[in-house]
């Protein structure tokens, strides 16, 4: 352990200064340069930002559970809804020592691209991210690994949601009624395939440089929702709304939906909106007044949350808390030394029920670590609480084609605290119908993924019969 040279106020002052001056991450040294040089982050921060014991004055240490009894000591390390969950609703968090291996914060190829392309991104006159040298679409990895503005932070989230060129998530959602009873179980399959901002292979998929990604989602269970599907091809230009095509089982055909239909539940009982995806579910330039409002340490759910060994289908069943003891999944959290708090408003959606969102991104990898929304009255509304990390549990490692661990999200809480509804999203190995999670196209054939999941013909085929 290094000698504690700096007090809490030092870090706090430093963070406040960075916010005011628009400076990048790192207290002792620039975070991203430190990462690039050493492969770890600790040298960029004083001890009190890397030690949960110091942050909590010795009240909480790795291996402990944070619950109602000790949450007061960690209140400043979590978003206000998480604090409410722990202090009032019986949620608990398991603490682990901070992960120092930067390779566990990214998918391998994405980290490589971020390192390789560092410094090559800028915003053009329209506000879109471009490769500075060519003025063409972004070439992969985090365009702004050292986040200095809110737009840079949101751009990192938006351009490559899952940080793979192609991701398919087999998702099982357990959605709870306000009384805490499990009421809705949905199986859905989410596909996202970037045509630009890619990390491997052809930098532009099939020459589609005007597009950012294909995205589709369809439900495989239960009966009434099975076959409901939505196709949302995104433009690269983030000022444009993506088109939305939907296949609704009762109509037996694909129909077009309004592009601004992004703040609605997509099936009954679900609190999740398309707008919620990745904390950046809408084109970034359809939101405005985006700014950094704070920096500081935060408890984040990273490595250690994947259930590849303990659950055959990778599901997190450590349910607890809430009125029926099933409202939360137990997360393993660790202290992140610096997270960037960004606020943004849905200026392109004057009738959106959301008045403002606040996202926290980890300064080390630019990934979403906490996300809350406020309604138009300014009241707290919803929390998106995601866990990300490498797909490692014990001696089980789900490896990519480079032999490196796959990296993705593992679970998400979508909590509407106004209505009391909760969705527990599990990133599963497989869901009904044999749809398995994968992050690389089999045999590298990404066109087959588009043909099978990302066209109107595809969603009609995947739809109800």
């Amino acid at each position: 352990m290094r000698i504690r040279k700096y007090d809490f106020d030092y870090s706090r002052r430093q963070f406040a200064e960075k916010v005011a001056l628009g400076l990048g991450a790192g207290i002792l040294a620039p975070t991203w340069q430190t990462i690039a040089a050493t492969g770890e982050v600790a040298k960029a921060y004083p001890d009190e930002l890397t030690s949960i014991e110091l942050q909590t004055k010795g009240k909480i240490k790795p291996g402990d559970l944070i619950d109602a009894k000790n949450v007061e000591h960690a209140k400043h390390l979590m978003d206000p809804i998480m604090y409410k969950q722990v202090s009032e609703m019986g949620r608990r968090l398991r603490v682990r020592a901070p992960n120092k291996d930067i390779t566990q914060f990214f998918p391998h190829a994405y980290l490589e691209a971020t390192l390789k392309n560092n410094g090559k991104a800028s915003f053009d006159e329209t506000g879109n991210v471009v490769e500075t040298a060519t003025k063409g679409p972004w070439i992969g990895g985090n365009p702004f690994p050292d986040i200095k503005t809110g737009q840079e932070g949101i751009a990192n989230l938006t351009l490559s949601w899952g940080r793979h060129d192609m991701s398919q998530y087999a998702v099982r959602s357990y959605s709870l009624n306000p009384d805490g009873s499990p009421a809705y179980t949905y199986d859905l399959y989410w596909t996202e395939l970037n045509t630009t901002a890619r990390t491997e292979g052809d930098p532009v998929f099939q020459g589609k440089k005007d597009m950012l990604r294909y995205q589709s989602v369809f439900f495989t269970a239960p009966q009434e929702q099975a076959g409901a599907s939505f196709l949302v091809p995104w433009y690269y230009d983030q000022r444009k709304f993506p088109d939305i095509y939907g296949y609704l089982p009762q109509f037996r055909r694909v129909r077009q939906f309004p592009a601004n239909q992004r703040f609605e539940p997509i099936v009954p009982g679900l609190s999740f909106f398309l707008s919620d995806a990745w904390g950046a579910g809408d084109p970034m330039l359809t939101w405005g007044n985006t700014k950094i409002v704070g920096r500081g340490p935060l408890l984040v759910a990273g490595a250690g949350n994947f259930k590849g060994k303990s659950n055959a289908n990778w599901e997190n069943h450590s349910w607890h808390g809430g009125p029926k003891g099933k409202t939360f999944m137990e997360y393993t959290v660790e202290l992140a030394p610096e997270c960037v708090a960004i606020e943004s408003e849905p200026t392109g959606y004057p009738r959106a029920p959301v008045g403002k969102k606040k996202v926290w991104v980890d300064a080390r990898n630019g990934m979403l670590v906490a996300y809350i929304t406020f309604d138009r009255r300014g009241q707290l509304w919803k929390q998106v609480d995601a866990a990300f990390g490498p797909q490692i549990e014990g001696d089980f490692i789900n490896k990519d084609r480079h032999g490196k661990p796959h990296w993705s999200w593992t679970n998400v809480h979508f909590h509407d605290i106004q209505s009391g509804r909760m969705d527990l999203f599990n990133h599963c190995k497989q869901i009904a119908g044999g749809y398995a999670s994968q992050y690389e196209a089999p045999n590298g054939d990404e066109k087959a993924i588009v043909d099978k999941f990302c066209t109107q013909a595809a969603i009609a085929r995947l739809g109800a019969v």
Binding site: Y186, Q250, P268, D416, A432, G433, Q456, V465
Partner: protein, 726 residues
């Protein structure tokens, strides 16, 4: 056991086994999902639901097409037989008919001039010779409490082998009958007029005993659909049962499947591929579900080619399967139950025909275009008079019947004892209980069915010669002629049942469509308004002739439709409201496919005979002009096409736990169907639907026969559905 039946049983057995397997898989507790399993080397998945569906009548009325809903039940009407000698311009006196038959050498005068036979059931006030009387229909009215109840099981097992998959949906429904139904039973009338012959004949299940609620039986074939088995109280079918192959941008499906095209909902413009199954709840299910339970499937092959991200090519070839209409005397029946509908789907080899279609659809940002061409047998078909083929003589229990029987045997050469049976077999009529008894009924029914009462009779006379001539019929040109003639034969028949047949004709339908999504001030009503226009042209559609002539009435048909859809947030606390406006214009036919020429018919009643103009159907005016002819007087039709409007809205509550919806179908010709509804999903596996159907065929004056909703004007009802998914 036929090979087909063996295959069917085999398929059901596999599905049943799959169901049993998967049910165990699903029973993992309230937080369990639908975990899949391996079956036949593929990924097997399964979803299912059971649902109880009920509709409670708020009018207590039965369909006016049903025996127990007929408007003449219990009504005393006078009849007086017409005189064939003067072309039925007058009613016949006993002396006149004696004279007619005397000319034939038969000594019938004594019979007709003497004391009449009878009276038979329903007859009173017989005149001398029985040539005029008063008839009171003896079938009791129904005070119906329950319109509809059904128990439904559906499951969608599928097996996926990568590029190949087997997709299945099995549907089993059960309607136990009774339980609030006021049923008509043909067997209750076996002791009247020698019972009802048709019920014991080919495809007679719906005309024998209690109603056939769920069966689909056609002439020559008990189960005409390869993927369906059904009976009076059950239906088991496979709306989807196909093998799918996906290779690159091409998808091929082979097997039983449905094809739905077009942006308009409910108005079927581009949606030409499949007919509708109207047996269960007609088309008045929850409106927002469109034809989810009605759209038919058919065996065939479908190719879908995503040529580019923007262009989709879709083509199909399917066995022809017709639209299925409700059976006689079931709640939503629209075919008068005194008419026997012979479906020639099998006997006419229409089941060996195929429908074909191709569609191109292109999306360009805010614009879309589509074009479609189909060659198909029209699923509704065309209906015409047909021979009854029932060799059953006129009853000898009335003097006119007895006289005719003797005439047929003595003059027309019928074998002894057969009377006019051989002749009637060559006409569209059959003598039986609970048939047509009065001319008023004929006129009223013609209007209800959107037909011309005089042309209908004239076509029988003209197109079933020489028999009809031998039976002294004449093609009427005026209302009074038809009236007198009909009464003569109804008296003699002691209940007439008409026979019609349904044939199917090929047509080519060409369609184009275009859509645009508006961009306005963000959040405004004009922002993200989805507008689509679709139109079809059918050069030669074969319609049912409004006189049920043998040749269908072939016309050029045009359909033009507009749909405007909008999702708008009116409240921060509620999800967006979905609103839709639709408009449809059809040049020649109404929404259900009948010619507009047959719309707007008046009824007719002989004021001199009845002492009043007898009005059977509310809001259908009665003509008392004895010289009224076809055309403007009876069937003015609807000129310049039919117009329909749909207004609908859906407001979900937070998280879509409740969905409040409102749908209104306006038949601009005068009718409305209004449906407020609420859906409640208290849990993911439970769905409760409550909706009310209000139907009025005559809202803004005029004649109820101007609206196609006159077929179901009685069916105001509260519907409740309770569904459980597993």
């Amino acid at each position: 056991m036929s090979l087909q039946r063996k295959r069917w049983i085999g398929a059901v057995a596999v599905l049943a086994a799959s169901t049993a397997t998967s049910t165990a898989v699903h029973a993992q507790g309230e937080m369990a999902g639908a975990v899949d399993r391996k079956l036949f080397g593929g990924d097997f998945s399964f979803n299912g639901q059971i649902r109880v569906e009920t509709a409670f009548s708020t009018t207590g009325r039965a369909s006016p097409a049903n025996q127990r809903g007929l408007l003449t039940n219990g009504l005393a009407l006078k009849r007086s037989a017409g005189n064939p000698v003067d072309g039925y311009n007058s009613t016949i006196l006993p002396q006149a008919v004696t004279s007619i038959f005397d000319q034939t050498g038969l000594n019938l005068g004594a019979v007709l001039g003497g004391t009449p036979l009878g009276p038979t059931d329903g007859v009173s006030n017989q005149s001398l010779g029985g040539l005029s009387d008063t008839f009171t229909r003896y079938v009791p009215d129904a005070e119906q409490i329950v319109n509809y109840h059904l128990f439904r099981f559906e499951a969608t097992p599928s097996i996926n082998w990568g590029a190949w998959s087997l997709q299945t949906r099995i549907r089993a429904t059960y309607d136990p009958g009774s339980l609030g139904y006021e049923e008509f039973n043909f067997n209750d009338y076996n002791d009247i007029n020698r019972g009802f012959e048709t019920g014991s004949r080919d495809a007679g299940r719906q005309y024998n005993g209690k109603p056939d609620y769920l069966g689909y039986e056609v002439d020559g074939k008990k189960d005409p659909l390869l993927f369906e088995r059904s009976g009076k109280h059950y239906q088991v079918d496979l709306p989807a049962f196909f093998v799918e192959w996906t290779g690159g941008d091409m998808t091929v499906r082979v097997g039983n499947q449905s094809v739905a095209w077009g942006q308009l909902l409910f108005f079927r413009i581009m949606d030409q591929a499949n007919g509708l199954d109207l047996r269960r709840h007609l088309f008045i299910d929850r409106a927002i579900e469109e034809f989810a339970d009605e759209r038919m499937s058919a065996p065939g092959i479908r190719f879908t080619w995503q040529a580019t991200d923007q262009i989709l090519v879709d083509a199909f070839a399917q066995q022809f399967i017709p639209t299925i209409v409700p059976n006689s005397n079931t709640t939503y029946n629209i075919v008068d139950s005194r008419f026997i509908l012979h479906d020639n789907y099998f006997d006419g080899d229409y089941n060996k025909k195929f429908n074909f279609g191709v569609r191109l659809k292109a999306e360009f940002g805010n614009f879309n275009l589509q074009a479609m061409a189909t060659s198909k047998l029209n699923q509704l078909g065309a209906i015409r008079w047909t021979k009854s083929n029932i060799n059953k003589k006129l009853p000898d229990t009335n003097t006119l019947g007895l006289a005719f029987n003797q005439y047929c045997e003595g003059v027309l050469g019928s074998a002894a004892g057969q009377g006019c049976g051989p002749q009637l077999a060559n006409t569209p009529f059959e003598s039986g209980p609970a048939g047509l008894f009065t001319a008023e009924e004929w006129f009223d029914r013609a209007g209800y069915t959107k037909l011309d009462p005089l042309l209908g009779l004239a076509n029988i006379v003209n197109e079933f010669q020489p028999t009809t001539g031998q039976l002294l019929t004449a093609a009427p040109t005026t209302a009074q002629q038809a009236y007198n003639e009909l009464n003569a034969f109804f008296i003699a028949l002691e209940g007439a049942h008409g026979h019609v047949e349904r044939n199917y004709y090929r047509e080519e339908v060409y369609g184009i469509g275009g859509g645009y999504v508006t961009e306005g001030e963000p959040g405004s009503l004009l922002d993200q308004l989805i507008i689509n226009v679709e139109a079809t042209y059918t050069p030669e559609r074969a319609f049912t002739d409004i006189g049920l002539a043998q040749a269908p009435d072939r016309r050029e048909e045009y359909q033009v439709g507009l749909v405007m859809e909008k999702y708008q947030r009116f409240s921060q606390s509620m999800p967006a409201t979905y609103m839709v406006f639709q408009y449809l214009w059809q040049k020649e036919s109404s929404l259900e496919g009948l010619l507009l020429d047959g719309y707007g018919s008046k009824a007719y009643s002989d004021v001199a005979l009845q002492g009043r103009a007898v009005q059977l159907t509310n809001n259908v005016p009665v003509s008392s002009n004895p010289f009224a002819r076809t055309g403007k007087e009876f069937t003015p039709g609807i000129s310049e096409g039919a117009n329909y409007v749909v207004l609908a809205a859906l407001q979900p509550s937070n998280a879509y736990i409740f969905e409040y919806s409102f749908a209104m179908l306006i038949d601009v010709q005068g009718g409305v169907l209004v449906q407020p509804a609420v859906q409640w999903k208290p849990r993911g596996n439970m769905t409760v639907n409550l909706f009310y159907n209000f139907i009025d065929a005559e809202v803004w004056g005029g004649n109820a026969n101007n609206s196609f909703l006159s077929f179901i004007d009685y069916a105001d009802e509260v519907c409740l559905r309770l569904g459980y998914q597993f």
